[in-house]
């Protein structure tokens, strides 16, 4: 078993350990004193440089491991190849589209797609990309031209640092259908009927998506701010958006008017 330096969260504090990495398990020395078999890992998440592993033998236990990219890359590759998850061999392209712009040098990579509780992992010898389920904005079984032929692919739209990114998965149609259904089921809570917003509401949502602020939206759609506020309320209530900033409109008091009058006088004198 190889030993690498890492930190682990134990009793709400980060402690330095020599993490043991074996072929089928990791060893967490004292004071944790645990061995985690890869096959009993049911979830793998990554937040910055922290790998969050959920192990389930009898009860679920969560381990948070902090280390350098190189160590985490090895850990992720080993755990994701053997953990308890829905796994399929596939070609994937991630990212394929960023913010609506096609990535020109995007390549299909051979690897596997691993679906765990909290997200979807794209794993190849050189890459481990995670798309958290909560960040999945859309899933579509669609066609894409591959080697000159229209080919069935699953397209997954997800949010990455506020940017909409699309990834593609390519494998036999029957497997794609299983993956599509699985992902649809996992993200079912985010599905909507499609009738919740009317035409103007949808245009407002589209403009928010494109990065327009309230002032630009009012001008573009020629709507008063009270109407825009009402649409915002509707969108917020549906959970389609969250408040980013609150701006205020103010008017001058008598003191303020006097100040400006005096300032103007001193400029003209």
């Amino acid at each position: 078993m190889k030993e690498v330096p890492a930190k682990i969260e134990h009793n709400n504090a980060w402690i330095v350990i020599k993490l043991g990495i074996g072929e089928d398990r990791i060893a967490l020395p004292a004071p944790v004193n645990k061995e985690v078999l890869f096959k009993t890992v049911v979830d793998v998440e990554e937040k910055k440089n922290i790998l969050i592993i959920t192990d389930k033998t009898n009860v679920e236990v969560v381990y948070k491991i902090l280390s350098v990219d190189k160590v985490l890359a090895v850990l992720k590759k080993m755990i994701l190849s053997s953990c308890n998850a829905y796994r399929l061999m596939a070609y994937f392209m991630s990212p394929a589209i960023k913010g609506g712009v096609m990535i020109k040098d995007a390549q299909w990579e051979k690897g596997s797609v691993v679906v765990v509780h909290s997200g979807i992992w794209f794993v190849s010898p050189t890459k481990q990309v995670c798309v958290p389920v909560n960040d999945v904005a859309g899933i579509e079984l669609t066609k894409r031209e591959v080697q000159g032929k229209p080919t069935d692919v699953v397209r997954i739209d997800h949010l990455e640092s506020g940017e909409v990114v699309s990834s593609m998965v390519l494998c036999p149609l029957s497997t794609l259908q299983v993956l599509f259904n699985f992902l649809k089921e996992t993200t079912k809570s985010m599905d909507m009927k499609g009738t919740e917003l009317d035409g103007v509401d949808q245009q407002v949502a589209m403009l928010i998506y494109s990065g327009m602020d309230s002032h630009a939206i009012e001008n573009m759609l020629n709507i008063p701010h009270k109407q825009l506020d009402a649409i915002y309320d509707k969108i917020l209530k549906l959970g389609l958006a969250e408040v980013a900033t609150i701006r205020r409109e103010v008017q001058l008091t008598t003191k303020g008017v006097r100040y400006i009058s005096d300032a103007t006088k001193s400029q003209t004198n």
Binding site: K98, M102, K143, E145, S210, A216
Partner: protein, 120 residues
């Protein structure tokens, strides 16, 4: 910064693109609502770049792209289409499009793509 011709059959999309491009410091040379008008406006306005919708009445974006390329082989055209029509990419690139954006899009990415194409 460039002089840009916006081609899209919906006023909403044209207005959105106009706002995005304007906020990025570009000048709007003009707008066209279909492929035929796009070719005519290109001849008249000689823009630095065209954003071209694909699905449009009268003449679609690919035909309009061919028409513009026949007038000016060096024309910089960025194709712009909806989700699910990405297979048009290859055809558009073959026809001479310099870039491709997929609706819905985000302003910073559109500006980045336009900047890249203008620098070619």
């Amino acid at each position: 910064m460039g002089k840009i011709l916006i081609v899209d059959d919906t006023l909403f999309m044209r207005t959105l693109l106009k706002n995005i491009l304007f906020s990025g410091g570009h000048t709007i040379a003009g707008e066209a609502g279909d492929g035929e008008e796009a070719v005519a406006k290109y001849k008249e306005l000689k823009p630095d770049l065209v954003t071209m919708d694909v699905v449009m009445p009268k003449m679609n974006g690919i035909e309009a792209l061919k028409g513009i390329k026949a007038i000016d082989p060096a024309a910089r055209v960025v194709m712009c289409t909806a989700v699910g029509q990405e297979q048009m990419v290859k055809l558009a690139i073959k026809t001479g499009a310099k870039g491709y954006i997929v609706k819905p899009f985000q302003a910073p990415k559109v500006l980045e793509e336009v900047k890249n194409v203008l620098s070619t």
